[in-house]
Amino acid sequence: MNIQPFLFYAFALILLCAALLVVISRNPVHAALWLVLSFFSAAAVWLLLQAEFLAIALVLVYVGAVMVLFLFVVMMLDVNFAKMRERFRSYIPVGATVGILVVVEMALVLIGGYLSPAAVQNPAPSPPNFSNTRMLGLQIYTDYAYPFEIAAVILLVAIIAAIALTHRTRRESKYQNPADQVKVRSRDRLRVLQMPSEKKGQ
């Protein structure tokens, strides 16, 4: 018996459970850790599809960098999540109804025919010495150069937006401008008052 379908279903199940727990766990740190698990399972599914570079990149970038940063932010922020959830409960009936309806409808469509293995062909196995990374690099810098550049612009916009939304010039800052200090003249700082002289002892 082939072990691949078994592995796929196992990882897919873990992925779904972890994703669900991201949404419903009460503690944001737990949610972030569940998200790490779901990224791991997704990477494993990609490995099964022979996309080893993407799988490794997902683990390195998302698990290694993004989620660690995210955990830091969650721990640093003192947000009262219980208070934010106060009115959350009242939306559960509507949300659950719509959600279950959508899932049932999707299941009804998808179970008929699409899930049978005959409907989708497996990709042809890659020849020996086939480098996924090399192919990806070739594609990105030739056929997909344009989307690649737009993705770069999107990152630029993210930087600009983050700075524009968070940067404040602080009024109370003690910042000194050396040029202004050098250019200062005595009459800007010093005011000589003329007063009538006073006699001693009066």
Binding site: M106, V109, L110, G112, G113, Y114, A119, V120, T142, D143, Y144, A145, Y146, P147, I150, A151, V153, I154, L156, V157, A158, I160, A161, I163, A164, L165
Partner: protein, 480 residues
């Protein structure tokens, strides 16, 4: 399929990207008192982009960048109009922005990047480009709504927009992945061929189509995906509201054309039904709920929803006549919105937002000319001749009747009668009520001239719609 790596068709995009980067750098070295320099540089960049959009005009569709980029007559025209729209938006909102500390380089740069996203969407030849353009446009918009970060309403609007926008992007990606699963390609032309020849699994295609149409409906603000529109329109600074309500509508039209006509045209029977529901609900909900609004920005938001319903009515006929009517409707609607929000901006001043209906009371006594302009806007939105709104509505209704959807046309006429009530209420407030606020209206010379020209254009295109309509027909027939 070897497609030559030709940069010329993307000249407008490159001009815009370069000028956005130039403004970004120059703005760093410009002192606060000389912010005008960044502003004029932005306008120059936008004008150059508009000029290049027409300069590269394509008689026949041209593909480049491995098929991820399409340049055709439709794309060139829509890019040109988007640029002009953004130029006018910036011009009208200059004083408003300056009074609220938003006259900053970041505002200009975000507007330019947002426009770049729209242009990428307009000439997308690949689902990936379409999605990236959408994200580029939306990300800049989310940030622009929140730029006034000390205002709770603005931040709340931005959060709402961001969360719902992310949901819509998720729906779009899911739909696209289904289409990919069925056809084996993300290239719009190849998807079209695969769908047309019937090689693709039809069930999955329809399944993906549902999600794609949902995403389009979200971007077009069609009911039931309209929840974000009133809150974002009300919460955002009016200048940003004007931006969101104008050029992105053109991009959303292009988005719908590329997805539904470009790649899934062979499935028109399926999407026609979905669009009928969207159009019907938008026309009814938009017009009825708008009556209850006392805030002009919210009222115009519901008016957008209703108008997108009429636009969809032209679109869903699935023939070139209908598409042209829909394009004409979108173009003229954007033109009308520009004047409408331009006057709301004009009435606002430092520390005062003219966003209540009562602020329009007695506008005729304060400034007969701008009252007349607002009258033209309201008549045009209500579809009263001889303004352009009448012809636009006439064209979409005619297109619907041509394909036998008489009942839909009847409902469109009835809902537009309901809509006339709240448009004419503003006219009544302006002409028959006493002014509460006697502050004279002040505007810069260039704003006054262009706002007046823009207002008179509503009349001009209403009397002579043939040129603009002919342009839409030519653009669409040459592209599809």
């Amino acid at each position: 399929m070897a497609i030559p790596f030709n940069l010329t068709p993307a000249l407008p995009e490159m001009t815009l990207l370069v000028s956005a980067c130039v403004v970004l750098i120059v703005d760093l070295f410009v002192p606060e008192s000389r912010r005008q320099i960044s502003y004029w540089l932005t306008q120059l960049g936008l004008l150059a982009t508009a000029w290049f959009s027409l300069y590269v005009f394509h008689e026949t569709p041209v593909h480049t960048f491995g098929g991820t980029f399409i340049a055709d007559a439709l794309a060139d025209l829509l890019k040109f109009f988007s640029c002009i729209t953004v130029i006018l938006t910036l011009l009208y909102s200059r004083v408003y922005l300056a009074a609220r500390g938003l006259f900053r380089g970041e505002t200009f740069v975000l507007m330019m990047f947002s426009l770049l996203g729209m242009m990428v969407m307009i000439s997308a030849g690949h689902f990936l480009t379409l999605y990236l353009g959408l994200e580029l446009m939306s990300l800049s918009l989310y940030a622009m709504v929140a730029l006034q970060r000390d205002s709770d309403v603005a931040v709340e609007a931005s959060m709402k927009y961001f969360v719902l926008g992310a949901l819509a992007s998720g729906l779009l990606l899911y739909g696209m992945s289904m289409v990919y699963g069925a056809t084996g390609s993300l290239d719009i032309d190849r998807v079209a061929v695969s769908v047309f020849t019937g090689n693709a699994n039809r069930t999955i295609l329809v399944f993906g189509l549902v999600f794609v149409v949902s995403a389009i409906a979200f971007k077009l603000a069609a009911v039931p995906y309209h929840m974000w529109v009133p809150d974002v329109y009300e919460g955002a600074p009016t200048a940003v509201t004007l931006f969101i309500g104008s050029a992105p509508e053109l991009a959303a039209f292009a988005f719908a054309i590329r997805l539904l006509v470009g790649s899934l045209a062979a499935m028109w029977v399926d999407w026609q039904g979905m669009l009928i529901v969207l159009a019907l609900l938008s026309m009814i909900v938009g017009n009825v709920v708008a009556i209850a609004q006392s805030n002009v920005k919210r009222m115009l938001a519901y008016s957008t929803i209703a108008n997108m319903g009429y636009m969809l009515m032209g679109f869903l006929t699935a023939n070139v006549n209908g598409y042209s009517a829909a394009m004409f409707y979108t173009l003229t609607y954007v033109l009308t919105t520009l004047v409408g929000f331009g006057i709301v901006l004009l009435l606002s001043r430092r520390g005062f937002e003219a966003d209540q209906l009562d602020d329009f009371k007695g506008l005729n006594q304060r400034s007969p000319w701008y009252a007349l302009m607002m009258l033209l806007v309201m008549f045009s939105l209500a579809g009263i001749p001889p303004t352009v709104g009448f012809y636009a509505k006439f064209a979409v209704i005619e297109a619907a009747i041509d394909v036998g959807l008489v009942w839909l046309a009847v409902i469109a006429v009835l809902t537009s009668l309901i809509g006339a009530f709240y448009y004419l209420r503003i006219v009544k407030l302006m002409y028959f009520d006493e002014a509460q606020d006697q502050t004279p209206l002040e505007a810069r010379f260039d704003t006054r001239v262009l706002l007046s020209l823009n207002g008179l254009a509503l009349l001009l295109f209403g009397v002579f719609p043939q040129q603009l309509m002919g342009m839409c027909v030519v653009a669409l027939t040459r592209s599809y």
